[in-house]
């Protein structure tokens, strides 16, 4: 069966769909890079901060100096255009993947689900022969991208199967009410029933979209629904390129030759080579692909290994496509005690962080811990070694009154980052 599946994966199919998608992806990435320049985000996110929330085990990833960051983003822009044009695609995609992922690894507070998707897709592109002039591609390429996009939609839908989303219409009630100036229907957006209807519709949309896109009879309607959905979210919420990226991704579910049919251009038979044999290297490739998707399926469920509520503690939240399912606001203050002298300090996060970093840190235990360690190190450097660092962090969650996120009696300077979770988190207000 696996042999047959692999052999089928190697069958050539028309590359028109994937090449069209590749152009869209490259252009969107270029637009994304231009936005970083235009909005001053390079300075704001990667130059001005004096402290970065690097990811665990990636502390060695540091930002370039200012000119280097600008050059880095300029290079990403060139690589995005190269991807769009299909020029040296594998090399371009590999460099784009490395360059883009490097940027994402610099600071956890800049994590976005669609940036993670971009990194994955760029990595998959490295192995896909859909550069300029490729008339056919192995079938597995299209199916791999469809699977990746499908997992995003599906797990985004699974994340919405919660009491907050379905029974309280949160956080959509909060967010929609902030869009009452939306043209034509804005006056409805602070209506309770609209929030409920939108919540249920969005959950249904995310859970079912892949299946109705795969079924030829419903495909056109499903794509139209996806278009409406993504345009609406783009207009309502500050999602950047995410809606447009997912709209482009939805075209992958059409037949492989849809651009040719659209333009009424007949397929060129001379470009279809014979099926290729299943060599050892290709077997290894399929094994790695299978491992990748196994990981992609398991990661969104890893929060079940933690005792905490994932949306409250954010343990297992990232890399799991829990898209737009939580509204949190928090405030954090740190209290430093020098046991040797008995002196105490109140440390406001703004001392070390930008406003954006502070907002993101104030609701995330990992980042609170990381800042606590940084504060301890900073005090040690200023002649106060061995200080205790405690945090008073209050967080409101999907419209509820704020509660402590962290046990304020715990000395965070003595706590380590743990993949297995923390026992110093306060319980979720949902439980």
């Amino acid at each position: 069966m696996i042999e047959r599946l692999c052999a089928r994966g190697l069958e050539p199919i028309d590359s028109a769909s994937m090449r069209t998608w590749r152009v869209a992806f490259g252009v969107l990435m270029f637009v994304g890079v231009v936005r970083f320049f235009a909005y001053g985000w390079i300075d704001q996110l990667y130059v001005q901060p004096s402290f970065y929330f690097s990811y665990p085990y990636f502390d060695w990833v540091k930002p370039w100096p200012r000119w280097g960051m600008y050059a880095h983003f300029a290079a990403l822009g060139v690589l995005a255009l190269a991807i769009a044009a299909g020029v040296r695609l594998r090399l371009s995609a590999a460099l784009f993947f490395i360059g883009f992922t490097y940027v994402e690894l610099l600071d956890q507070s800049n994590y976005l689900n669609h940036y993670y998707l971009v990194s994955i897709v760029a990595l998959l592109l490295v192995f896909m022969p859909i550069g300029r002039g490729a008339q056919t591609v192995p079938r597995w390429c299209l199916w791999a991208l469809r699977a990746q996009v499908g997992l995003v939609y599906f797990f985004a839908g699974v994340a919405k199967l919660s009491t907050d989303w379905l029974l309280h219409a949160q956080p959509l009630r909060i967010w929609l009410a902030n869009n009452t100036d939306f043209p034509l229907v804005g006056f409805l957006l602070d209506e309770r029933w609209v929030a409920f209807a939108a919540s249920w519709a969005a959950a249904l949309f995310d859970l079912s979209l892949v299946f109705v896109l795969l079924w030829r009879r419903t495909r056109v309607y499903a794509f139209a629904a996806a278009l409406v959905f993504h345009v609406a979210t783009a207009l309502l919420f500050p999602l950047g390129l995410f809606p447009w990226l997912m709209t482009a991704n939805a075209t992958l579910f059409f037949a492989a030759d849809w651009p040719r049919r659209l333009l009424s251009r007949p397929r060129r038979p001379r470009s279809v080579p014979a099926p290729r044999s299943l060599t050892r290297i290709r077997r290894l490739g399929f094994a790695l692909l299978a491992a990748h998707f196994a990981l992609q399926i398991l990661l969104p469920f890893r929060h079940m290994l933690y005792r905490s509520d994932v949306l409250w503690s954010e343990e297992g939240l990232r890399f799991s496509w829990k898209v737009m399912v939580v509204e949190k606001a928090g405030v954090a203050r740190f209290y430093v005690t020098d046991p040797a002298s008995g002196r105490q300090w109140t440390v406001y996060p703004r001392t070390y962080l930008s406003q954006r970093q502070e907002k993101m840190m104030s609701v995330n235990p990992d980042m609170v811990l990381k800042l606590a360690h940084h504060i301890a190190a900073d005090f040690a450097a200023r002649g106060h070694p061995g200080v205790q660092v405690r945090a008073d962090v209050r967080v409101s969650f999907n419209g509820r009154r704020s509660r402590p996120l962290i046990d304020p009696s715990v000395d965070l300077a003595r706590q380590r980052f743990l993949l297995t979770g923390y026992d110093w988190l306060e319980p979720s207000p949902r439980r």
Binding site: Y39, W41, Q44, L45, N110, L112, N113, H114, P171, I174, W175, A177, N178, N179, T180, D181, G186, F187, D190, F237, P238, L239, G240, L241, F242, V323, M324, E327, K328, A329, G330, V331, R333, D338, S341, R343, Q344, W345, T346, V347, Y348, R350, Q355, R356, K359, M360, R394, V395, S396, F397, G399, R400, R401, S402
Partner: protein, 352 residues
């Protein structure tokens, strides 16, 4: 109560969008009325400064000091909405750069260049504004009429007051519909010239102005002088307006401005408010916020005086004020922001 329509500006939006009404009412009930209180007070400060230098007596000095305090109050109330023209025209630095740097002021007094409108207009923030006037007016009277530098000190006082007055008028003019009409830009987001693309941007601006002054009250105006950020060593020099012992009044004005922004209640007028929006979602939260404003106002009033002494010798009252300010800020940034979905400022970076 005077309703919003009586305030004198154009009528509010006819649609049902309460957020549009909120921004409109904030502009007409709170922002503009507070700002309009400023020029009469700064004009009085100019007049009293001129009178002081014409006849430097204790009586004219006391009158100038009183005018300085009176000018400070509306400006401090306006610090609950430090966005728009106050930032664009760099008014905050010109009127109230704090803390004053005595070395810079003494250096300026030692200069010989004639002090004129142009000269003061070109000075850096550390050499002009209300804190520099405080340094000169709340020092020794002799400085203004004895010795070789008295004439320069007096000229400096008068031109500083005139510069503050000019800046205050520029600020108000930039908001007025008959001037720069920032009011119009605020209440009509998306229109040409408005810095706000969407109504939610304007609402977020208003909310963030409120959050910012509450954060400043807690961290800069109370925690810092109490020594909480300095290992428990009080920093009396960090008390605002300590020479005039006007720090408590400054904070009370800040708090009054913040309350006016939250409730859209000012000078007997009222309008659609953050308070109503919060109450519709969580009446208890709104009641808690209002009660906390009352508690903090009383706590600020009860702080020992002079405040610079109290932070060292009688800190209990200041600590109570600090605790209250901390709780009030938490209520806003964690609870009110969470209930309304008004994100504390993070710029225009994408989400999710």
């Amino acid at each position: 109560m005077i309703v919003i329509a009586a305030v004198g500006c154009s009528a509010g939006p006819s649609g049902p969008d309460r957020r549009a009404q909120l921004v409109h009412d904030l502009a007409d009930v709170v922002y503009l009325p507070i700002l309009r209180e400023l020029p009469p007070q700064t004009a009085e400060l100019v007049a009293r400064s001129e009178a002081l230098c014409a006849e430097p007596t204790q009586a004219t000095l006391d009158a100038a000091r009183q005018a300085w305090r009176a000018a400070r109050a509306p400006y401090k109330r306006s610090e609950a909405f430090r966005f728009g023209p106050v930032a664009d025209l760099r008014v905050a630095g010109a009127i109230d750069f704090w803390p004053a740097r005595s070395a810079d002021i003494e250096d300026e007094l030692a200069q010989t260049a004639p002090i004129t409108e142009t000269y003061v207009g070109g000075l850096g923030s550390t050499r002009k504004g209300l804190p520099v006037l405080e340094y000169l007016l709340f020092g020794e009277l002799e400085r203004l009429h004895d010795g070789g530098s008295a004439m320069r000190a007096c000229d400096y006082v008068v031109e500083l007051a005139r510069d503050v007055d000019r800046r205050a008028r520029e600020l108000v003019a930039a908001w007025e519909p008959s001037g720069g009409d920032f009011r119009g830009k605020l209440i009509d987001p998306g229109s040409g010239g408005s810095p706000y693309a969407k109504l939610s941007d304007a609402v977020a601006e208003a909310a963030n102005g409120l959050f910012a002054i509450l954060e400043e009250l807690e961290a800069a105006k109370l925690a810092k002088p109490l020594g909480h950020v300095d290992g428990g060593i009080p920093q009396p020099e960090a008390v605002e307006s300590s020479l005039a012992d006007n720090g408590a009044a400054d904070m009370a004005a800040n708090l009054a401005g913040a309350r006016a922004v939250y409730t859209t209640e000012y000078g007997g007028a009222t309008g659609m408010s953050f308070s109503q929006a919060v109450a519709d979602l969580d009446a208890q939260l709104d009641a808690d916020v209002r009660a906390k404003f009352d508690t903090c106002a009383a706590a600020f009033q009860a702080m020992g005086r002079p405040l610079a002494d109290a932070v060292v010798n009688d800190p209990a009252g200041v600590e109570a004020a600090f605790t209250c300010a901390k709780e009030l800020y938490t209520l806003f940034v964690a609870d009110v922001a969470g209930a309304l979905g008004v994100t504390p400022t993070i710029g225009d970076v994408d989400g999710d």
